[in-house]
């Protein structure tokens, strides 16, 4: 049981880390890209600015909370 928990924790830290909102927002950005492409609309332009916004918001949140 301990091994399963450690394995789960390793992957959680590896993928999600200490800001779960980043992972959730990335999932939305990927879903939107897929959806637009699925509808025949070119969506290569979506991910780079989305990632920039997600990163900016995340570091701003952390900076605000650490004063």
């Amino acid at each position: 049981m301990n091994y399963i928990r450690s394995f789960g924790r390793f992957w959680w830290n590896f993928v999600v880390g200490d800001d779960w909102r980043v992972a959730a927002e990335l999932a939305v950005a990927f879903a939107l890209t897929w959806l637009l492409e699925h509808e025949g609309i070119s969506a290569w332009w979506l991910l780079p600015p989305a990632v920039a916004l997600i990163l900016a918001e995340s570091v701003r949140r952390e900076a605000r909370s650490s004063g």
Binding site: V15, S42, W44, V51, L55, V59, G67
Partner: protein, 251 residues
């Protein structure tokens, strides 16, 4: 710069950062508890890592390339953004810099406080700490090697970059005979974070169905964009911190 060079560079730098962390743990435990059990721990972890790479690499080649790129791109982006986020916060002074000398002395203190083993016996403390340190840091390297290698069809090149990084760090560690505290770890993490996030955007986008203008060349534009955004964020945050706390300026 071809995509092979970028791939080699990204794998080399990411592996070097993890190797510095693993070496710090191994050196601290080896110096205090002795080298025999420590090196057995390192060897055992290396075998497990080799099995992971040997098992996962070929298995990944059976997954359709679109699905593979999407999953790996998303994982790399999530992982890369964590590195980048921490590197930006450290560079702007919102988080303390990772100090290998301090990590070394902390590991050394903990190793010294643990019960000593009899000289002829296996020292399970040294074995376990060395094993865990090398395995955990090594798993991150294995993940990068396997994903980069499988997605680009260059498993050998990615593995060679990781081996070269490990060898470079070990030789440097032997030469200085101590923790590699002069390695600009945060700068390396910043660069690696930019590279991993950029590859994540590129492959994740392709996996989601996007077609990048210019094909593979687009990766260079993405690296430039992510680098510029990260650099601007660092500058903005540093200025903001200094405005709130005058007199605490750091390089």
């Amino acid at each position: 710069m071809s995509s092979n060079v970028v791939l080699f560079l990204a794998t080399f730098l990411a592996s070097a950062v993890e190797a510095v962390e693993a070496l710090t743990i191994v050196l601290a435990v080896g110096v205090v508890r002795g080298w025999r059990s420590t090196l057995v721990g390192v060897g055992a972890a290396s075998l497990v890592l080799a099995a992971v790479v040997a098992g996962l690499g070929p298995a990944l080649q059976h997954i359709p390339i679109g699905t593979l790129r999407f999953v790996i791109g998303a994982l790399l982006l999530a992982f890369g953004l964590q590195w980048l986020r921490k590197a930006i916060l450290r560079a702007s002074g919102y988080k303390p810099l990772h100090d290998e000398a301090e990590a070394f002395s902390r590991e050394r203190k903990e190793a010294g406080a643990a019960l000593p083993a009899r000289s002829a016996q296996m020292d399970w403390y040294a074995f376990t700490v060395a094993f865990k340190g090398v395995l955990l840091e090594g798993l991150e390297v294995a993940f990068i090697v396997v994903t980069f290698g499988a997605t680009q069809g260059r498993l050998g090149l990615a593995a060679a970059a990781a081996v070269a990084a490990g060898a470079t760090v070990v030789v440097a560690g032997l030469v200085v005979r101590g923790p590699l505290e002069r390695v600009p770890e945060n700068t390396l993490k910043f660069i690696v974070g930019v590279l991993l996030s950029s590859f994540g955007i590129f492959w994740g986008g392709e996996g989601a169905g996007a077609e990048w203008p210019g094909g593979d060349v687009a990766i260079l534009a993405i690296i430039g964009f992510v680098g510029l955004v990260s650099f601007s964020l660092t500058r903005t945050l540093r200025r903001r911190r200094l405005a709130f706390q005058p007199g605490t300026a750091q390089g």
